[in-house]
Symmetry: C2
Subunit: 137 residues, 2 copies
């Protein structure tokens, strides 16, 4: 796992205490995070705007990606190596736990190949599973 500072450097982002801590938080998190969850868990800032702006910047650099959320919140998870600095490339499924409401990336489950149907041109496929996660079972 690359060090947070290295990652910020690679993506041309400034190494502030908060952003370092934020990357480390994502790395140590088994599932995904909302802005509010981040605010609870982080020490180096108390301002939600700072959090939102970091998330937007990270997403643009393809460091994190949005994942579906049970309550339609904006929720992020770390990207895998396949993502370049300019293009997201995800082919894994997401799992929403109906008990703890966390969203997990299921990197093992690949997306089905859907052929273009009746005039719909398909650019992206998302597979979202719901149920109960290992911790809640």
């Amino acid at each position: 796992m690359p060090k947070a500072e290295k990652i910020l450097e690679k993506f041309n982002l400034k190494k502030t205490n908060f952003r370092i801590e934020l990357i480390e938080l994502f790395q140590s998190s088994s599932s995904s995070l909302t802005a509010d969850e981040i605010k609870q868990k982080i020490n180096s800032t108390n301002d939600k705007v700072t959090i939102y702006r970091a998330l937007t910047a990270f997403e643009k650099k393809c460091l994190i990606h949005r994942v579906p959320d049970k309550s339609n919140l904006i929720r992020y998870a770390l990207c895998q190596k396949e993502c370049s600095q300019t293009h997201h490339k995800h082919n894994h499924a997401h799992f929403i736990c109906n008990i703890c409401s966390k969203t997990f990336c299921l990197n093992d489950i690949k997306l089905p190949q859907i052929d273009n149907t009746s005039g719909f041109k398909i650019n992206k496929t998302q597979l979202t599973l719901e149920g109960s996660c290992p911790a809640c079972n």
Copy 2:
């Protein structure tokens, strides 16, 4: 297509002008609707609370179901016959158009069967496709 009044009767809902018009609006809509879109298109009420409450009631009776939305809005589409009055049963995919931002139900595309994986117990599967819809192509 059953008449709106019949549907309200079947689901033990009162036949108010607004709810009749709302069902007819859903029936005549090729895609799906948000509360705001409904407000634009409907005459018999001007109050968003009334709209939200009707949507909640309809969803509970399995008359409409939530569909994914590009901007995380709550968006609904009519249910198919498979849904009972107490249980939603959907096995179709959804399509989000990145141009007009509408969401369509693709009743032809069936969901892939995913086996339970590494401790995740799967109760529900959702397949969401993105791209451009026939009207926008």
